[in-house]
């Protein structure tokens, strides 16, 4: 039997398998450690982290929608210092490849976190969140224009020397333009996509269900959108991509790889199957063996025409 290699690489970041959680859906890795060792995953992407701790948005923060859900958490997090002192050691002890998702209200915020994390060798990569739809300042505001996206990525690039990933919003006219701007500004890879802005109305109260009015749509409902964007960006730019959006089984993950993703993130599906990520990892091994393919890398972008 041929040796099966499910390892992959994104923006120079070596991953022992292509599966990792989407930021914000898996806390800091410790929450799901009850079920399995987070070190089994390709990487762990932690909750979006800001300079100062944030309280987040007023509840309710979640609304279920057909084949998906809206969230409006608003980047509640412990802040960068507590992340480093209280959350990072656990991930290090479990030999996780740590990707820190970072967010800010200003370019200076992003630069400050990038500089702080550059000193933390246990953080292998930063995923720059310029696409959170649920905060009033920063987040998506940076990610919907090529010039502002470029400004953030450049400022992080100056301060952070290891792998830099830009997480992009689907709520744009031309995703390829933003992707190019990020790559040209020094991003090593792209995460595609963040949630799709949406809303839900409580017909009994005649008000938006979420106090913040809108939220980010995730889950199977957005998979075709995410897949299309991965495909378009890979085809146009050739950049390394981490695909995310509505993956709930191995076959979904494989579609993303074939559309051009080098790795995948799983978000909402963790909520209804806490073992979904190890299942997808097992799925890759099985698929490669059954199809006599030696490496998952051979499948990246094979569907592009």
């Amino acid at each position: 039997m041929k040796k099966i290699d499910i390892s992959t690489e994104a923006g120079g970041l070596k991953l022992k398998n292509p599966v990792m959680p989407a930021s914000g859906t898996w806390g800091y890795g410790e929450e799901y450690a009850e079920f399995y060792n987070p070190g089994e995953l390709g990487a762990v992407v932690v909750k979006g982290t800001t300079v100062e701790p944030r309280h987040g948005n007023e509840p309710p923060r979640i609304a279920e929608t057909p084949a998906g859900m809206l969230n409006s958490v608003g980047l509640q997090n412990v802040g960068i210092e507590k992340f480093i002192s209280e959350k990072l050691p656990f991930l290090k002890d479990n030999k996780c490849v740590v990707i820190a998702n970072i967010a800010g209200g200003s370019i200076d915020d992003y630069a400050a976190i990038a500089e702080r994390l550059d000193a933390e060798k246990d953080v292998s990569a930063v995923e720059v969140n310029i696409s959170c739809p649920n905060v009033s300042k920063g987040g998506i505001a940076f990610g919907v224009r090529a010039d502002t996206a470029s400004g953030v990525i450049k400022s992080v690039r100056k301060k952070y020397k290891r792998v830099l990933i830009a997480k992009l919003s689907p709520n744009v006219t031309d995703i390829v333009e933003i992707a190019r701007a990020c790559i040209d500004s020094g991003a090593d890879a792209l995460t595609l996509i963040n949630t799709v802005k949406g809303m839900s109305i409580d017909i009994n109260n005649r008000k938006p269900l979420l106090p913040n009015c809108t939220g980010g749509l995730s889950g199977p409902a957005i998979k075709p959108i995410a897949l299309r964007m991965v495909y378009e960006v890979k085809k146009a730019t050739g950049a390394d991509i981490i695909g995310v959006g509505g993956i709930e089984c191995f076959e979904d993950a494989l579609e993303f790889i074939m559309a051009g993703a080098s790795a995948v993130q799983v978000g909402t599906a963790n909520f209804y199957n806490p073992f979904i990520m190890p299942e997808i990892i097992d799925g890759f091994g099985k698929y490669l063996a059954e199809n006599s393919i030696s490496s998952v890398k051979e499948l990246i972008g094979v569907a592009i025409r």
């Binding site: 799901y32 923060r61 979640i62 279920e64 909402t268 806490p274």
Partner: protein, 264 residues
């Protein structure tokens, strides 16, 4: 076969359980009994389980249901039909398999007699489990509040485990007329603790009552929930902690909180 045939953790069961019994105990409110597991048998009063409905309505999220009782054989869950998920659950039949994760959350802890239990509507359910764990003596009293006699349930079950059971209804159609907080005020003796589960306004007024009377109060809260594991920060409530207000997770720090610290 996949190497992860055994999926549960030591503390949390995840997998299929069988419906042993299901009954509509009052209109729209169901008692479902499912098979237990090593983890589920160790459930504590106030904890909940996540049921993952396989509806044909494109729902994806699990539904948190309070545990009304649990032992080595069965787990009793009580729910009211409110939407697509609970409608699906209400249609289950004996022998059906459902996907279950739990027990989850932090229940009623450090509860010692003498204690007052206060349940409003569906909120009575976890108190049954708690009442069973407490001794059947004069030191535990329970007040159950319902809209009217048609919505009242489990009264005989409560009476079989507790001697002092008081019932009140909004319209006086069963027991005395009035609300739970009023009734608690009437029957209170030397109790120093209240354990409560029910609608927010009831928990708010009870917490105010407890504060005025220098009592401790534990309240069980609910909020729209995502992961159930403390990871997504979806189900938060505002809590006073260390001189500040912060959002804490119903699924992790709760669902049972110190009522004096809840920002209602």
């Amino acid at each position: 076969m996949n190497s992860r045939e055994k999926l549960s953790s030591e503390k949390i069961f995840f997998g299929l359980r069988e419906v042993i019994n299901i009954n509509e105990i009052v209109k729209g409110t169901f008692l479902v009994e499912i098979s237990s597991s090593a983890q589920l048998s160790k459930s504590e009063p106030g904890q909940f389980v996540y049921i993952i409905p396989k509806t044909q309505k494109r729902t994806i999220l699990p539904r948190p249901l309070c545990i009304a009782d649990a032992d080595a054989d069965t787990v009793k869950l009580i729910f009211k039909v409110k939407g697509k998920g609970t409608l699906y659950l209400s249609g289950l039949s004996k022998g059906d398999k459902i996907s279950v994760m739990g027990p989850l959350g932090k229940g009623f802890q450090a509860v010692k007699e003498p204690v007052l239990l206060a349940g409003g509507g569906l909120g009575a359910a976890p108190l049954y489990f708690l009442a069973k764990k407490l001794r059947n003596n004069e030191k535990t009293s329970l007040v159950l509040g319902f809209k009217n006699k048609d919505e009242a349930y489990f009264i005989n079950e409560f009476k079989s485990v507790l001697r002092n059971v008081f019932v009140c209804t909004d319209d006086g159609s069963l027991g005395s007329r009035g609300n739970v907080t009023g009734k608690i005020g009437e029957i209170i003796r030397d109790e120093k603790i209240i354990c409560a589960c029910g609608p927010r306004p009831m928990l708010k007024s009870l917490s105010a009552f407890a504060g005025e009377n220098k009592m401790r109060i534990f309240v069980s809260l609910e909020e729209r929930m995502g992961c159930g594991m403390g990871a997504c920060l979806g189900c938060v409530v505002k809590i006073r902690a260390g001189g500040k207000e912060e959002y804490q997770r119903v699924c992790k720090e709760g669902p049972v909180f110190d009522g004096l610290k809840v920002v209602f």
